[in-house]
């Protein structure tokens, strides 16, 4: 069962002017963050259940909270040869840098759009393959690129593609890695100067 009241409580506490403006002592700031993180976790369970019900398929939904610093165990693992490791029980896998993620040859990306108008949004996911095939909810191919990261940076390069989602709705995109011999493998077109 998901529960949004934990986040509601945390946000209610964070109405205090200290939380809004950052004028609290450090240990208080840490506690605000702890409460908000606990609220996020239980809300993500709620969102996962809703997505399973709406999309009609059970999934280990993963919320990569550190995508802004290119950390997402699922997409980074999805490029390796799949091993025997099974998925995690239930609808929802814990997130976090060391979350055990099944190694799968492909993964799906769901984009939820909270605005009341159609939205196109750039997706940027850390991967360590060099080429992927992305298809949209209608099964149509979506242009994608694996952009070389900074020289001498860790091997996780960003996979880029433009995703669109309907008003107050979500779209599901399927991403699968192309082997070097795959005829769909486009020539690398990225220049780094």
């Amino acid at each position: 069962p998901g529960d949004s009241s934990v986040l509601r409580e945390a946000v209610a506490v964070a109405q205090h002017h200290d939380a809004v403006s950052g004028t609290e002592k450090q240990h208080v700031a840490n506690d605000y963050a702890r409460q908000l993180a606990a609220g996020w976790d239980s809300c993500q369970l709620l969102v996962a259940n809703a997505l399973a019900s709406l999309s009609g398929s059970k999934e280990n939904f993963v919320f990569c909270n550190a995508l802004n610093v290119s950390v997402c165990p699922l997409t980074e693992a999805a490029s390796r040869v799949s091993t025997a490791s099974g998925g995690l029980g239930g609808l929802w896998a814990p997130t976090g840098a060391n979350a055990p993620c099944p190694s799968v040859p492909q993964f799906t990306v769901l984009l939820y759009n909270p605005l009341g108008r159609p939205m196109s949004w750039p997706i940027r996911l850390p991967v360590n393959g060099v080429s992927y095939a992305v298809t949209d909810p209608q099964g149509q191919p979506v242009p994608s690129e694996v952009s070389p990261g900074r020289p001498l940076r860790p091997p996780h390069l960003p996979l880029l593609f433009q995703a669109s989602a309907p008003p107050l709705g979500f779209s599901t995109f399927t991403v699968s890695r192309l082997s070097r011999r795959d005829p769909r493998m486009p020539p690398t077109r990225t220049r780094v100067v």
Binding site: S21, T23, E24, K25, Q26, A29, A48, A52, G56, S57, K58, E59, N60, F61, V62, F63, C64, L67, V69, C72, L74, T75, A78, G87, C101, V104, Q106, F107, T108, V109, L110, L111, Y112, N113, P114, L115, M119, S120, W121, P122, L125, P143, S144, E145, S147, P148, R150, P151, L160, F161, Q162, A163, A165, F170, T174, R189, T190, R191, V192, V193
Partner: protein, 286 residues
């Protein structure tokens, strides 16, 4: 050799071939261009002086000089360019603790600056307040515009208050205002708007300029009740590293709002990405 330019259908961005800094933004749809220099600086946080004992702290922003210090020092910015069908970006390295990606995605009519700042070094014993500053040729006549509390955009005038006669004692801090979603400067024809992905302090300290404070690390309490300096540490006990984005739009004054109003909503209520291994069993209702 430093990269010269990146572009997409709507925008072209030129870089200074010698210093690697942003040099000009061109709106290709409207055939307008504006020289824009952008870089990172830091204000030296005051610890109190003969005029006032007030130190910079969690409640108070008070630099000890009106002149901020360039993060990159006199060095040029080291850069490299990435180009493919979906994105063109210039990675700029201002220092070991300050970098930025200037990004143009296919089809987007704005420039994205993804900045990463921290851990702010304080071994020199100075608290630092880091800003991203834009300098243009716009004749702004001491005016700039910020949305205070996200409700409405208010006109701000340097060293002036509409409701009382201000005798300015803090030439920088006295001109800083809350920015929740956007700050812009304009002249009679063009407007440069910067959208923020979080609340920041912002100002226009001299005509044609615009600045936003992206990070702070201080060493003294400001004696207003917290009882400790604003010096948040990360899990590694180093100063916090912060990453964020500024979206930069150049447009005519008449049509600037069309763009920034919708884009600010998208930034504030950004779509949410959820991932899954795929191929799970069907979900039976009930």
């Amino acid at each position: 050799s430093q990269p010269r330019e990146i572009q997409n259908e709507h925008v072209r961005v030129l870089f200074d071939p010698l210093t690697g800094h942003l040099k000009e933004i061109q709106n290709l749809d409207k055939s307008i261009s504006l020289p824009v220099f952008q870089s990172f600086y830091w204000y030296n946080a005051s610890i109190g002086n003969d005029k006032s004992l007030q130190a910079s702290g969690a409640y108070i922003f008070r630099p000890n000089s009106s002149e901020p210090i360039p993060v990159a020092g006199s060095k040029q910015v080291s850069t490299y360019l990435v180009k493919n069908a979906l994105v063109q970006e210039v990675h700029q390295n201002f220092s070991s603790w300050c970098s930025q990606v200037v990004r143009l995605r296919a089809g987007q009519p704005y420039l994205e600056l993804e900045w990463t700042v921290g851990p702010i070094p304080v071994e020199d014993g100075w608290g630092k307040e880091i800003i991203s500053r834009f300098e243009t040729t716009l004749q702004t006549d001491a005016r700039f515009y910020t949305d205070s509390n996200g409700r409405q955009v208010l006109e701000r005038r340097r060293d002036y208050r509409p409701t009382w006669n201000l005798s300015q004692t803090e030439p920088v801090a006295g001109n800083y205002y809350p920015v929740n979603s956007r700050i812009f400067i304009k002249d009679k024809k063009f407007q440069l708007t910067v959208l923020t992905d979080r609340s920041q302090g912002g100002s226009s300290i001299f005509d044609g300029s615009l600045e936003l404070m992206v990070h702070r690390r201080l060493l003294y309490d400001d004696n207003r009740g917290v009882g400790e300096p604003l010096a948040e540490l990360g899990a590694d006990k180093q100063g916090l590293v912060v990453r964020g984005r500024h979206l930069v739009l150049l447009d005519t004054v008449e049509s600037a709002a069309d763009r920034h109003r919708l884009l600010a909503q998208e930034l504030f209520m950004a779509p949410y990405t959820v991932l899954a291994p795929g191929g799970g069993p069907s979900y039976r209702h009930g």
